[in-house]
C-alpha cells in the first residue's frame, strides 16, 4: 500500500473543495437556510405538525440528507470528470498508485465534503429552530455512511461520464427528483397508496427516514431497515467504484 500516495491524494481532494468553498460549502448552507425560513416558517402556519413534530423540524433531517448526498456525489463525480477533461488524470495513472488507492482517496474526499455539508446544515438548524438532536452519535454515523455511499456512486458516475452534460443529466433527472420524492418535505403517509409503494423502491427515502429517526426519533420506515439499506448501498457502490477504477474503463485505452 502506498500510504503517502493515498494520503496525498486525499489531501488534494479535500483541499480542492475547500479552496472553492463558495461553490462547494456555502450554497448548500444558504439554500437550506432559505428552505427552513421560507418553506418551514411559512408552511408551518398551515401544516402545524407531522407525526407530532413541528413542520420546520420535520423537514430539517431531509434537508441535511439532501445536502449531504448531493455534495458527496458532486465532489467525486466532478473531480474525476475534471481530471479526465483537463488531462490531469495521467499524473495519477502513471504514478505508483493502485486502483484501490485512487478510488479510496476520491471516496474519502467526497465523504469529507458530504459530512462537512451535512453537519453544517445540522448546526444551522440548531441555530434557526429549537432542535434537540435525539441521537447525535447515530446522526453523525448515518451522515458518514450516506456520504461514503454517495461519494462512491459519484466516482462511478464521474468515471463513466464523458461530458458535463451527462453528469448534469444524472444530477437533474435522477438524484434531485429522487431526493425530493424521498420525503424531505412530507411524510409518505400523506400520499396515496400507489405513491407510497413507489417510495419504497427509492433508496433515498430510507436515507431521509434513517436520519429523521436519529435526529427526531420519528420515521416512516423502520430505522434498522434504513441503516441496513445505507450499509448495503455503501458496500455495493464502494465495490463497484473500486473494481471500475481497477479496470481502467473510460480512463485507459
Amino acid at each position: 500500500m502506498n500510504w503517502i500516495g493515498l494520503n496525498t491524494l486525499i489531501k488534494r481532494e479535500v483541499g480542492r473543495f475547500f479552496s472553492v468553498y463558495r461553490q462547494t460549502v456555502l450554497p448548500g448552507l444558504i439554500s437550506s437556510g432559505l428552505y427552513i425560513v421560507i418553506f418551514g416558517f411559512t408552511l408551518e402556519q398551515r401544516i402545524s405538525e407531522i407525526q407530532g413534530v413541528p413542520y420546520t423540524l420535520f423537514i430539517l433531517p431531509g434537508l441535511i440528507m439532501m445536502n449531504t448526498l448531493t455534495n458527496a456525489t458532486a465532489n467525486t463525480s466532478s473531480s474525476m470528470l475534471q481530471m479526465k477533461l483537463l488531462q490531469q488524470l495521467p499524473d495519477l495513472l502513471t504514478a505508483p498508485l493502485s486502483g484501490l488507492e485512487i478510488s479510496l482517496a476520491y471516496i474519502i474526499g467526497g465523504t469529507v465534503r458530504g459530512v462537512v455539508n451535512g453537519i453544517l446544515v445540522l448546526i444551522l438548524g440548531v441555530f434557526l429552530t429549537d432542535l434537540t438532536v435525539a441521537d447525535p452519535l447515530g446522526t453523525i454515523v448515518f451522515i458518514f455512511l450516506v456520504s461514503w455511499a454517495f461519494a462512491s456512486m459519484g466516482l462511478i458516475l464521474g468515471q463513466m461520464a464523458e461530458s458535463w452534460d451527462q453528469l448534469a443529466m444524472m444530477q437533474n433527472f435522477f438524484l434531485t427528483p429522487l431526493s425530493f420524492l424521498g420525503g424531505i418535505f412530507y411524510s409518505i403517509k400523506m400520499l396515496p397508496e400507489w405513491a407510497q409503494s413507489l417510495s419504497f423502491i427509492n433508496p433515498i427515502y430510507y436515507m431521509i427516514n434513517g436520519i429523521r429517526y436519529t435526529i427526531l426519533g420519528i420515521s416512516d420506515s423502520s430505522f434498522s431497515f434504513s441503516f441496513w439499506m445505507a450499509l448495503i448501498l455503501t458496500v455495493l457502490f464502494t465495490t463497484i467504484a473500486i473494481l471500475l477504477m481497477q479496470s481502467g474503463k473510460k480512463i485507459k485505452q
Binding site: T94, P96, G248
Partner: protein, 308 residues
C-alpha cells in the same frame, strides 16, 4: 549482460481497425539517451503510454529494469518520470503545491520533497512563480513545469514526449542543455520528437518509427553513414589526361573541372580524395562536402518527410 532500462518485445496495440503498434521490439540501455523519431501518428506516444501504464497493450511485453510494467507497476512507475506531450491544467493549487502532490503520489513526503522542489524551481527558472497557478504561466513556463513534475521524484528514467513542441528557440536550447546535464548524471532519457535536429544533437541512439513499426535503429551517425548519401564536390584548377585512373574505387561524376563524389562517410573519404588528386598532380581550387542528415535517412526509409 546488464539489465536494460527499458525492454519492449513484440508489442502490438490496435484501436479498432487501426494498428497503432505492429510488433515493436526495442531495447534502451541504462544511461542511454534514446530518441524515438517519427511523424505524428507513428505510434510513439502509444508506445510510451503502454510503458507508463496509461494504455493497455494487446500483445508483447514491456519491462523496466527487468520488471513487467503491469505486474510490477509500483516498481516500474517509480523508476519513470514522464513529461507528457499534452499540458495538464489545474485551477485550484499553486504550482509549488502541485509538485508536492506529485512527489506524494510517488511516496515522497512533503518535507523530503522540499529540497528537490527548490532545486528544480531554481534550475528551471520558476522560483518567482512558485505561488502562481498554472493558468498564469506562459507556454514556455508550463513546459518547464511539466519537466519539473517529471523530475520531482528523482527518477532513473526520464521520458519526454515532444518536450520542445511549440516553444521558442532560446528555451529549446536551454532545455537541451538541461537534458544533457541530466544525461551526464547517469539518467536514462527516452525522447520522442519530430524535430530531426533535436534527435541528431542529443541522442546516442535513435529508432525511426512509422505506421506502428520500427524501421531502423542505431546511432544518428551510423544511420546516416549506412542509409544517407553524402557528397564531396571538388573544383580543380587544371586537369590532366589519365588523372581518372588515380580515382579508381570512387563513385564520381565529372563536369569539366568539377568532380562530384558520392560517399557514405565524407569525414574519412575527403583525405583520401585529396591524397589521390595530389598524386594525380592537379591543383585543387576548392573542396566542399555536403553531409547527409537524419532527415535524408528518414526520407529514404519512409518515402516522406517527418512533418508530412
Amino acid at each position: 549482460m546488464p539489465i536494460p532500462a527499458i525492454q519492449i518485445s513484440g508489442l502490438t496495440k490496435s484501436y479498432g481497425n487501426v494498428h497503432a503498434l505492429r510488433g515493436v521490439d526495442m531495447t534502451i540501455k541504462e544511461g542511454e539517451f534514446f530518441g524515438l523519431l517519427g511523424p505524428n501518428g507513428a505510434g510513439k506516444t502509444t508506445m510510451i503510454n503502454i510503458v507508463t501504464g496509461l494504455v493497455f497493450r494487446d500483445e508483447g511485453t514491456t519491462e523496466v529494469f527487468g520488471k513487467d510494467t503491469v505486474k510490477d507497476f509500483r516498481f516500474t512507475r517509480s523508476k519513470i518520470g514522464i513529461a507528457a506531450q499534452e499540458l495538464s491544467v489545474d485551477w485550484f493549487f499553486p504550482i509549488e503545491k502541485l509538485l508536492v502532490f506529485q512527489a506524494g503520489y510517488y511516496g515522497i513526503s512533503e518535507s523530503d520533497a522540499k529540497p528537490k522542489i527548490d532545486d528544480l524551481f531554481e534550475r528551471l527558472g520558476l522560483s518567482k512563480k512558485r505561488e502562481s497557478r498554472l493558468r498564469q504561466l506562459s507556454g514556455g513556463m508550463k513546459r518547464r513545469f511539466q519537466l519539473a513534475k517529471a523530475l520531482v521524484h528523482d527518477p532513473d528514467i526520464i521520458i519526454l514526449d515532444e518536450p520542445t513542441a511549440g516553444i521558442d528557440v532560446e528555451l529549446r536550447r536551454n532545455l537541451w542543455q538541461y537534458l544533457r546535464d541530466l544525461h551526464s548524471q547517469g539518467k536514462t532519457i527516452l525522447l520522442t520528437t519530430h524535430y530531426i535536429e533535436e534527435a541528431e544533437l542529443l541522442c546516442e541512439n535513435v529508432a525511426i518509427i512509422d505506421e506502428g513499426e520500427i524501421l531502423k535503429k542505431g546511432s544518428p551517425k551510423d544511420l546516416t553513414r549506412e542509409l544517407g548519401t553524402a557528397g564531396i564536390t571538388v573544383q580543380l584548377g587544371n586537369v590532366r589526361n589519365g588523372m581518372e585512373s588515380f580515382l579508381d574505387g570512387f563513385t564520381f561524376t565529372r563536369e569539366e573541372n568539377r568532380f562530384h563524389f558520392s560517399v557514405k562517410d565524407p569525414d574519412s573519404a575527403m583525405p583520401k580524395i585529396i591524397e589521390q588528386l595530389s598524386k594525380a598532380d592537379v591543383h585543387i581550387q576548392s573542396i566542399e562536402s555536403k553531409v547527409s542528415s537524419l532527415e535524408d535517412v528518414f526520407l529514404n526509409l519512409t518515402g516522406k518527410g517527418i512533418n508530412e
